[in-house]
């Protein structure tokens, strides 16, 4: 069910998803997966959350590329790395000004007049041009930039699905406002990269109605804006501990309670719960297991329906398991391995 796709020509992986689907986790796992085969990867966040620092358990990130993970050396002695960058609009604006306009002192004056705040929080679109502009710079950087680190791939932990098209479609957003001028030019340049085959936008979803619907809407919007849609990553997929036959029985309330009770006794569960022969405890446990089985079946049924809808989207699809213990660094590695095994981030 997962059409394999070759992502090797991609320089910029944009990861979006509805709130609560775990897009930041997926972005981090993707960065790790890419780096694990010896690549140098930059993971960017633009929403001021410091989520990367928390996930990797490192100090809050400054506005500077910071190495947050390094792989083990391979046979050739090379090791992949993940650098991380926390892009905030104020710093991006000041850097932009000093880079293009040599505005050292004037930058301070701008701040005094509230212009920095204006440009980064109020002026519609300008904020996004600044954020995407910094990401663009990191992607475009090449060996000619003296002393700067260059990357084999950049992963962007982007705003949520509801806002992603507006965010990436920077010149569309600016169109009503700035028809000419430097910001407009900058937006046009950035758009050229975003619309090229070097960029893909991956959407993270859950197998639930609202996130799947939002993913479908998001894909339609991205396509309408001529932005390249990549994969759909289905996150938090429940384990498949029951086979189809058992699911069916669970859903119909037709599980054999006698057999389950016997199994529990055989597995020694009873003795541990409340003394041999405690029939009431056993019955209560069987009842609870059967009810859980029924809810699980109901849930799996819903997931299957949503999985079919995801397949109809016609995108390469990858699935990540729900980790019952939560996602720590080890969990991230596990998710990265899952992505890699399925072909994303190979």
């Amino acid at each position: 069910m997962s059409p394999s796709k070759d992502w090797s020509g991609v320089d910029l992986h944009v990861v979006t998803g509805k709130g609560g689907t775990g897009k930041s986790t997926v972005a981090a796992a993707l960065a790790l997966a890419l780096a694990s085969s010896g690549r140098r990867v930059l993971l960017c966040e633009v929403e001021g959350r410091q989520g990367i620092a928390r996930m990797f358990d490192v100090d809050p990130l400054p506005y500077a590329e910071t190495r947050v993970a390094r792989g083990l050396p391979d046979a050739g002695g090379g090791a992949g790395t993940v650098h991380a960058l926390h892009v905030d609009p104020e710093s991006a604006l000041l850097e932009y000004l000093s880079m293009y306009y040599k505005l050292g002192r004037a930058g301070k004056a701008l701040d005094r007049f509230g212009v920095i705040e204006f440009a980064t929080t109020i002026a519609p679109g300008v904020r996004d041009v600044l954020l995407t502009g910094k990401v663009y710079e990191a992607v475009q950087r090449n060996s000619r930039s003296k002393g700067a680190t260059t990357y084999d791939a950049v992963v962007l932990d982007a705003p949520p699905t509801g806002r992603i098209t507006q965010f990436l479609n920077v010149n569309g957003e600016l169109a009503g406002l700035a028809r000419v001028g430097p910001v407009k030019n900058q937006a046009d340049t950035v758009m050229t990269l975003f619309r090229s085959s070097r960029t893909v936008v991956h959407l993270v979803t859950l197998l639930e109605e609202m996130p799947v619907q939002e993913t479908a809407d998001g894909i339609a919007e991205l396509e309408a804006a001529d932005l390249p849609v990549g994969a759909v990553v289905v996150n938090l997929v429940r384990s498949r501990d029951l086979d189809d036959e058992a699911l069916d029985a669970a859903a119909r309330g037709a599980l054999d309670t006698e057999e389950i009770a016997d199994d529990l006794v055989r597995a020694g569960v009873l003795g541990e719960t409340g003394g041999t022969g405690d029939r009431e405890d056993l019955d209560a446990l069987v009842e609870e297991l059967v009810e859980e089985g029924r809810e699980h079946a109901e849930r799996r049924d819903l997931e299957e329906a949503q999985r079919a809808l995801v397949a109809d989207l016609g995108r390469p699809t990858y699935e990540l398991p729900l980790l019952a213990a939560g996602v720590d660094l080890g969990g991230l590695y596990e998710l990265a391995a899952c992505l890699k095994e399925q072909g994303l981030g190979r």
Partner: protein
């Protein structure tokens, strides 16, 4: 954002249980006229708002629920095909009360403020200005500001004609729950602030008002944005001039309304680290701003279990059955049970930690339902769970 936050809490406390949040008492309290549901994105705020509004209506109150961006499903669940800026009655609400639902149209609301405040000619000038169009449709704070504006409008109307006695407000799906409180201030301080005066300075006479920095600033702005943007902005500001003070006053009025005892805030979260961290920031911020916090709703919790089996025991038993070689459904069921126990334990731990840090905040934990909400019946079921009734069987 980079502002420094000071954490507020008991400083030394063990994980504990929160006091129980009595949702029905809250909904029945006639002195409460506004209920605001806040929280970070993806925690089920909109569904919670709708379920609370329905429950209040069916307990006899005249309710309107202001949603921000409901899924089509939810609008349909309420029997309203299309939600817009005007409240529409939700059919089939049981009992004496009533429920209207509406969805915020931020541009329309902004336009209405402009038309109601300015002369027709000025209003037209403003509405056609490219800078205004951009500001009213895409600035990240506009939605929050307009949600408050709409809330103020409905509240005033309800007080005048008695159409509603409870307004339930869902808040925008912001990056952070705090945006709801911060953004309006940001917008009004911009519209009322230094920068705008700077733009209008040449039109207002004595240029000495501004220091020599002015030239540098306008020069830089022109360089960055282009001269045309600056011109549009100046036209906008000139036309908008008379409205600025009004905006500040309105924002302050709504802020005061939120601080009023007739308002109650519910913070909505999911039993996950990020969502609870956001909730904690928000709770602390509400306290700081002296806003009336009613409690915390933790959505999507793993269903509670009543057996005494531990995660390890369930896993071990499943392994034993598997090793015995027989194909066994029981092994699968035990593993499901083990996963659920592990998740429930983790969630309980997170919620208990929240309670330790915020011991005075009443909370209710709402279990996840296996399926989505499709109709009023589904919303009622969530309402039951919010009120602590029924374990969802």
């Amino acid at each position: 954002m980079s502002e420094r936050r000071t954490r507020v809490g008991p400083l030394a406390a063990l994980p504990t249980d929160s006091p129980a949040l009595d949702v029905d008492a809250l909904l029945d309290d006639p002195s409460i006229g506004i209920l605001v549901c806040c929280g970070s994105g993806g925690v089920g705020k909109t569904t919670t708002s709708a379920a609370l509004a329905l429950r209040a209506a069916e307990r006899g109150r005249k309710v309107v629920v202001l949603t921000i961006d409901p899924a089509r499903r939810l609008a349909q669940a309420m029997g309203v095909e299309k939600l817009d800026n005007t409240p529409r009655p939700v059919p089939e609400v049981a009992g004496e009360g009533s429920l209207d639902a509406m969805m915020l149209d931020m541009k329309r609301t902004f336009d209405e403020v402009v038309t109601s405040q300015a002369t027709p000619e000025k209003a037209r000038q403003i509405l056609e200005n490219p800078f205004y169009v951009a500001l009213s449709s895409s600035f990240a704070g506009t939605q929050e500001y307009m949600a408050m504006e709409k809330l103020g409008q409905i509240h005033r109307q309800a007080e005048a004609d008695g159409s509603y006695d409870l307004v339930v407000v869902d808040t925008p799906p912001s990056r952070s729950a705090l945006d709801f409180l911060d953004a309006p201030e940001r917008l009004s301080s911009f519209l009322d602030g230094r920068f705008i005066r700077l733009l209008t300075a040449p039109a207002r006479g004595p240029a000495r008002l501004m220091s020599a920095g002015l030239g540098v600033v306008t020069g830089a702005l022109t360089k960055i944005l282009g001269a045309q943007v600056l011109r549009d902005m100046q036209v906008f500001v000139a036309a908008f001039d008379t409205l600025f003070g009004g905006f500040r006053a309105r924002a302050e009025k709504t802020f005061a309304l939120l601080q009023d005892d007739r308002t109650a805030f519910l913070v909505v979260a999911a039993p996950e680290e990020d969502a609870l961290r956001e909730a904690a920031y928000f709770v602390e911020r509400l306290e700081e701003d002296e806003m009336p916090l009613a409690g915390l709703v933790v959505n999507r919790a793993s269903p509670p279990t009543s057996t005494t089996l531990s995660t390890e025991e369930a896993t071990a038993a499943a392994d034993r059955l598997r090793r015995s070689g027989r194909r066994s459904v029981t092994a699968g069921l035990l593993r499901l049970h083990a996963d659920r126990l592990a998740m429930a334990a983790r969630e309980r731990h997170l919620v208990a930690r929240f309670a330790a840090a915020h011991p005075a905040v009443p909370a209710v934990v709402v279990r996840a339902l296996p399926t989505d909400v499709h109709d009023l019946e589904g919303l009622r079921r969530i309402g039951d769970l919010l009120a602590g009734e029924g374990e969802g069987c």
